[in-house]
């Protein structure tokens, strides 16, 4: 099994979920995160004082899938959230050793 973590633009979240549901993904987790990459931060002013916002708001989507589905899902994510501008985000793929469903105690791929 694999974990797919995608850091995406917050405004693309709904579109991505629609796309993933369309290809049959049964569940995912979303976290609101802050960070910076090549997009860096920006400046704001408050009562005449300029200050730097170092971190931008992003959304992290986490999906655990069977390894055979990885390519299909990565393609779907790219299609759904790519704009071509700096700040589109990144996708990380890593291994998952085991999955246990707490309710039934099932383990492995059936627990996904």
């Amino acid at each position: 099994m694999k974990r797919i973590e995608a850091i995406i633009r917050p405004e693309k979240t709904d579109k991505l979920i629609d796309r993933l549901e369309a290809i049959g993904i049964s569940g995912l987790n979303i976290t609101e995160i802050k960070g910076y990459g090549s997009q860096k931060g920006h400046s704001e002013t408050y009562r005449g004082v300029t200050y730097r916002i170092r971190l931008r708001k992003k959304i992290k989507v986490e999906i655990i899938v069977e390894y055979t589905d990885v390519d299909k899902i990565v393609e779907a994510i790219k299609e759904a959230v790519q704009t071509g501008e700096v700040g589109d985000g990144k996708i990380f793929v890593s291994d998952i050793e085991n999955v246990i469903r707490i309710r039934t105690g099932e383990e492995g791929a059936v627990a996904l």
């Binding site: 704001e44 002013t45 408050y46 009562r47 005449g48 004082v49 300029t50 200050y51």
Partner: protein, 446 residues
């Protein structure tokens, strides 16, 4: 016979006339009594309505201050605005009102503690209770101005001690000088609804408090530059400004304490024009200076216009009101920057809005008053009186405020510890959290 008939006819007419004259003059007397009673009733109702509007300004201050500061201190802001009104109401009843409006000398009133007096010296037709509740909410306004300037770092018990003293003594004495027949009143100072009496007193005490406290942790860098500590809710701050603006329609027109005084209409107009001009100018200046129209500065600009017009609202024309409001809207921005340069940390701009613009508004009467203003051919004497008032009230409110805050610092401690300031005053002073559901509630177990 005919002559007798005629004379009896005459008699009838004369009798009838007499009866009518007596009847109508009686009715006329009754009508005059009724009209006078109605006039007093109208004045009483108007004064009470205005008092209730000014009371609501307390909510406005609470929202402005909470919105302009960080979420971790919101509950502490609310407690300060709640308790300076509650404790202030009690001490103003006990002694403050007597110091302000009792008969006494040129410096202070000395009769009528606990309202145990007729206050005949005031020559009021309305019940003293109506005048008293109106003055109570004014006193609370002066006290609560300070809360914002001292936000996010003040020991709660120290603040309570301060608020009792300002409402019991510092504010009422100035009030006696200007409104209670004291020495400035005798000089002919014009401060209709309290640019100086209420706003400058609060603003200068706030300045003393901010200086004695020192800046919030992280506000200024070693090289002297300022950091932004953005407030947590601009909506809340804006709602507060709207509430204050609304309340000001009681603050200024209500200061006639007479609904039969039809100048309440023109006072409402000058009040609104000045606020509007203040907001517009603050927006324009912030736009030019910072590249964007600054929300919090524009909000401050509306308040600056309101504070500025409060002294002259009944004495100046509409165009003068616009000019006064506009200048106040510009002053407030440069004043906020000025105090930031001095590293006097005033999170909500209370010193600039109430102290500086209150002083400006009072002096502006000397220029713009339709009767007695320098620009309207009234000569310089009113202007000089206004300046004397502004300067002496500064010395009194700032000086006493400074001594008071130093004393509180020595006896109770004015500032919370560094750990408490970082954790937030909601927790350190009140053991609570104003926004508990904004994070995962780990305590909630089945």
């Amino acid at each position: 016979m005919s002559s007798r008939v005629i004379s009896s006819e005459y008699l009838k007419v004369i009798l009838m006339s007499l009866v009518l004259v007596i009847l109508f003059s009686g009715m006329a007397f009754a009508q005059n009594d009724q009209a006078a009673a109605n006039a007093i009733a109208i004045d009483t109702v108007w004064t009470l309505i205005a008092a209730f509007l000014v009371f609501f300004m307390q909510a406005g201050f609470a929202m402005v201050e909470a919105g302009f500061t960080r979420a971790k201190n919101a509950g502490n802001i609310i407690m300060k605005n709640m308790m300076d009104f509650a404790s202030g109401s009690l001490v103003f009843w006990a002694v403050g009102f007597a110091f302000m409006f009792g008969s006494g000398n040129n410096f202070i009133g000395t009769t009528g503690y606990f309202l145990q007096d007729t206050f005949a010296n005031l020559g009021l037709d309305i019940p003293i209770a109506a005048f008293f509740i109106f003055q109570t909410v004014f006193a609370a306004t002066a006290a609560t101005i300070v809360s914002g300037a001292m936000a996010e770092r003040t020991n709660f018990s120290g603040y309570l001690a301060y608020s009792v003293v300002i409402t019991a003594f510092i504010y009422p004495v100035v009030g006696h000088w200007i409104w209670g027949g004291g020495w400035l009143a005798e000089m002919g100072i014009v401060d209709f609804a309290g640019s100086t009496v209420v706003h400058s007193v609060g603003g200068w005490a706030a300045l003393a408090g901010a200086i004695v406290l020192g800046p919030r942790i992280g506000k200024y860098n070693e090289d002297g530059s300022a950091n932004a500590l953005p407030g947590h809710n601009l909506l809340m701050a804006a709602l507060g400004v709207f509430i204050l603006w609304f309340g000001w329609f009681g603050f200024n027109p209500g200061s006639t304490v007479a609904g039969t005084d039809l100048s309440i209409a023109s006072i409402a107009v000058t009040t609104n024009l000045a606020a509007a001009a203040g907001a517009v100018m603050a927006m324009i200046v912030s736009w030019i200076k910072y590249g964007k129209a600054d929300v919090s500065m524009t909000l401050n600009g509306a308040l600056a216009g309101l504070v500025g017009i409060t002294a002259g609202t009944a004495a100046v024309g509409n165009l003068s009101a616009v000019i006064i409001g506009a200048i106040a809207g510009v002053i407030v921005i440069y004043s906020v920057e000025f105090f930031d340069k001095l590293q006097i940390d005033d999170p909500v701009g209370a010193v600039s809005v109430h102290g500086v613009c209150g002083a400006f508004g009072t002096i502006a009467v000397g220029f713009f008053a339709a009767e007695g203003g320098l620009l309207f051919g009234g000569g310089i004497s009113l202007l000089i009186t206004q300046i004397i008032g502004v300067v002496t009230v500064f010395v009194w409110a700032f000086g006493l405020g400074f001594v008071l805050f130093k004393a509180i610092d020595a006896v109770i401690g004015l500032r919370v510890s560094e750990e408490d300031e970082i954790e937030g005053l909601d927790f350190s002073e009140h053991g609570t959290d104003s926004y508990p559901d904004f994070m995962v509630n780990v305590k909630a177990e089945n």
